[in-house]
Symmetry: C2
Subunit: 151 residues, 2 copies
Amino acid sequence: MFESFYEDIVVGETSEFGKREVTKEEIVDFASKFDPQPFHMDEELAKQSVFGNLCASGWHTASMTMRILVDDMKDRRFAGMGSPGLDKLEWKKPVFPGDILRVQSTPLEKRESASKPHLGLVKTETVVVNQNNEVVMRMVSNMMVLKRNPS
Amino acid sequence: MFESFYEDIVVGETSEFGKREVTKEEIVDFASKFDPQPFHMDEELAKQSVFGNLCASGWHTASMTMRILVDDMKDRRFAGMGSPGLDKLEWKKPVFPGDILRVQSTPLEKRESASKPHLGLVKTETVVVNQNNEVVMRMVSNMMVLKRNPS
């Protein structure tokens, strides 16, 4: 069922994928559930805010990024086994309705798990850019990945 | 309109708040939009996974945490002006349907902004616990906060 494993990850090799359009409806829907601050909910109040326009919750941007990553993992039949967390998450620019997001992903480090012979650990930089090639978000995440050949 | 400002933040002082019940419906709804992996979507497949049961996407847990934080900020009329990002985010344990989440928040550091006389910068540890007092998530975030008295 999986086709892409720990052994296939090349440190330093950047891949780019995804094309997700951000809608006003989704920004407001996400914010009303999880981040009900005026600049994510109300266009008029957002225009008076530091952002200048209605913009997505940073957690919404992170969640849309996750969807792009999961779709790519499924396309590649990648043996990702979840994440213990992030070393860094930076929201660099606001994400507005109509923006189109894509992801640039680069493995920074990989190593075999000391305790689990079937797993490797991979540290990856994920950069999210909009249609103007502006970086809107950047994160460094850790992921567990199955080995094709357990040691 | 605001009542709680940068000057009111006490480094090292932990406050606890929030009481959010996690539902199966919300876990599946969030996952179907943002993190469609089997262990967040399908009870039977989840039972065969490393998690042992249907569990929330880590991004869903982070988003529910944000809602708890925003509700608390509104209750306190806190002058938070958004976040440039996180230094760390750790998913420590799975979050299951029926879990009840609450937040323990501790300011770790505060300093005045060098460039913006009306703002301070606060680094905060946020720990999310379930009804058994198990830590399910931990993050260290940075936030901009208005001063009551700009320097």
